[in-house]
């Protein structure tokens, strides 16, 4: 199903990706023959055991890692180098230690040469949304882990990119904040039609947010299954959690991940 070559109208196309890292010490196959096509406007969530190559996959799409073999395309153009039509939330917050929270968010605007006033307004909205109000000027080392992650999130959202690649963006957040962020991200996705690929360890999050959930195997990372999420496009947290379809899918995923990870 996913081995078809990238065709017109595909937001992200990956075909037969293999990635081997080799150093003097050892050789690691991070991804093995991964193919996946993502339509514009899809919200694909990726779950899989630690070290299976999820981050590597996102970096390949962003053009930050070159696959050993295979082809990637983004917005119908082959990926040859770093891509800029994206918003990337890295697994580590990757903040500039010499800039305050707000300045770190606005880095996105400065690097892209965006309109200053508009960017500033948007930054303020995002700061408000992520509950960072009052910490606009705090330097990264003065922020808690979760706050740093939220700053990185704001930064990736600032320019309303057509494609969002998110590597465990909510990992350091408490349950409630996480739910709020999930809801916000869901809203943004619905309203803008952004294509999103999100890596997460939370099965609930994967199901609540995704239109499709991709499950990867332990190293070497392969796609072992793709679940379409048969929930309405417009979702409400409490509603979804009590939905039986949610329950069923979550149980399926849990089972699959358990078994997938068992031979690890």
């Amino acid at each position: 199903m996913t081995t078809a070559p990238a065709r017109a109208g595909t937001a992200i196309g990956m075909s037969r990706l293999t990635v081997r890292f080799s150093s003097r010490r050892s050789q690691t196959t991070a991804l093995d023959d991964v193919s996946l096509d993502i339509e514009p406007g899809e919200f694909v969530t990726i779950v899989g055991p630690s070290g299976c190559g999820k981050s590597t996959l996102l970096k390949i799409v962003a053009g930050l890692v070159q696959p050993t073999s295979g082809e990637v395309s983004l917005l119908d153009r082959p990926v040859r180098g770093p891509q800029k039509e994206i918003g990337f939330v890295f697994q580590k917050a990757a903040l500039l230690e010499w800039r305050g929270a707000r300045a770190n968010i606005l880095l996105q605007a400065e690097m892209r040469g965006m309109d200053r006033a508009q960017a500033a307004r948007r930054a303020d909205e995002l700061i408000e949304m992520t509950g960072l109000t009052g910490f606009e000027k705090a330097l990264p080392h003065e922020l808690s882990g979760g706050m740093q992650q939220r700053v990185a999130l704001c930064r990736a959202l600032l320019h309303s990119p057509p494609v969002l690649l998110m590597d465990e963006p909510f990992g350091a957040l408490d349950a409630l904040t996480r739910e709020q962020m999930n809801a916000e991200l869901h809203r943004i996705w619905r309203e803008t039609g952004t294509t999103v690929v999100l890596v997460t360890h939370s099965i609930a999050e994967a199901v609540f947010l995704g239109t499709r959930v991709v499950v990867m195997s332990a190293r070497p990372g392969r796609i072992i299954r793709t679940f379409p999420v048969e929930l309405p496009a417009h979702r409400d947290y409490a509603q979804v959690m009590s939905d039986s379809r949610f329950d069923r899918l979550a149980t399926d995923l849990r089972g699959l991940l358990g078994s997938a990870a068992a031979n690890h």
Binding site: P82, G87, A94, W98, Q108
Partner: protein, 313 residues
């Protein structure tokens, strides 16, 4: 601000507010973040009062002052008791007399050398940074430029100073070329080290923002390289003085290097020492200016952060 910038203690207190109520840990490695002012203080903490600031200043100055005093005492003792003959090491009094007697002359020479030094340093900083950027960014330029830069560094300047004077005359040019040649290398080396030490994650980030090399340089690599670079600039500024002096030494009719030559030729040790003191003063003043610039430019850096253990001892 200025006196605080000179003073780690001042900055620390500024950044972390007043000291904690409980006794500070004294272990050198005991990393202990001092959190906030004691309950009583409350409110907005910043801006130490004038009294406190004076105290901070005094605290930051007494140690160097003590060292200086000890130095002068030792000098005076050695010279006045003639443990070392006066024509080698004059007494502080003799030097002082020379300084005051010939003050206007010496001031003029000092200004000349200062001018050459500053010009040389600024040029060296600019060229050094440019070379560092070229080397750090392009592998081709790295391989091609590095040998040249290295070669320019390892040739003893005293040996080529006469050549420079012969080629460029007795004017300002050879002095500035020498200052640049001497001060250039530390800037390049530390610039390259700094630019290369950028966290690859941050470069990845910049790449996904579609930023061109210039923006990435300006917003990420350059600020990241600053702590390294400042170390290079500190070395460079002291060397620039040496460059200017060597240039004057070889052929000039003004400047402290020229005075050095005269003093040496006449075995006028008081003048020699007065001259050395002025040269050192130029070096120290410029060095301190670079330190102030550093404090203003990279207050965010770990080395200047409040509660970093090495400043709590």
């Amino acid at each position: 601000m200025t006196e605080n910038a000179l003073d780690t203690a001042g900055r620390q207190a500024d950044a972390a507010g007043a000291p904690a109520a409980s006794a500070a840990t004294s272990s050198t490695d005991g990393s202990s973040t001092v959190a906030a002012p004691p309950p009583g203080v409350g409110g907005r903490p910043p801006r130490p009062t004038l009294g406190r600031r004076a105290l901070i200043l005094a605290d930051s100055l007494w140690r160097p002052a003590l060292v200086l005093a000890a130095f002068f005492a030792a000098w005076w003792f050695v010279a006045a008791r003639e443990y070392v003959p006066n024509y080698l090491v004059p007494t502080p009094g003799q030097v002082w007399a020379t300084m005051t007697d010939q003050w206007s002359e010496l001031a003029r020479h000092t200004m000349v050398t200062l001018y050459e030094t500053v010009l040389g340093f600024v040029l060296a900083a600019a060229l050094g940074l440019a070379a560092a950027v070229a080397i750090a960014y392009s592998r081709t330029l790295d391989k091609a430029l590095y040998p040249i830069v290295l070669f320019a560094q390892v040739i003893p300047k005293i040996a080529i100073a006469p050549l420079l004077v012969v080629w460029f005359g007795l004017g300002l040019t050879p002095k500035i070329i020498l200052a640049v040649l001497i001060a250039f290398f530390p800037v390049v080396i530390s610039g390259v080290a700094g630019l290369r030490s950028t966290d690859p994650e941050l470069l990845d980030l910049a790449a996904t923002m579609g930023a061109g090399p210039w923006r990435t340089f300006r917003k990420i690599r350059f600020p990241n390289a600053l702590p390294h670079l400042m170390a290079g600039l500190k070395v460079a500024v002291t060397l620039a003085v040496v460059g200017a002096v060597v240039g004057e030494f070889v052929g000039a009719s003004e400047g402290l290097g020229y005075v050095l030559l005269l003093a040496n030729g006449n075995l006028d040790s008081a003048l020699l020492f007065a001259d050395l003191i002025l040269m050192s003063a130029i070096g120290i003043v410029l060095f301190v200016l670079v330190e102030i610039a550093e404090a203003l430019l990279i207050p965010w850096h770990a080395s200047r952060r409040a509660g970093v253990p090495l400043t709590t001892s």
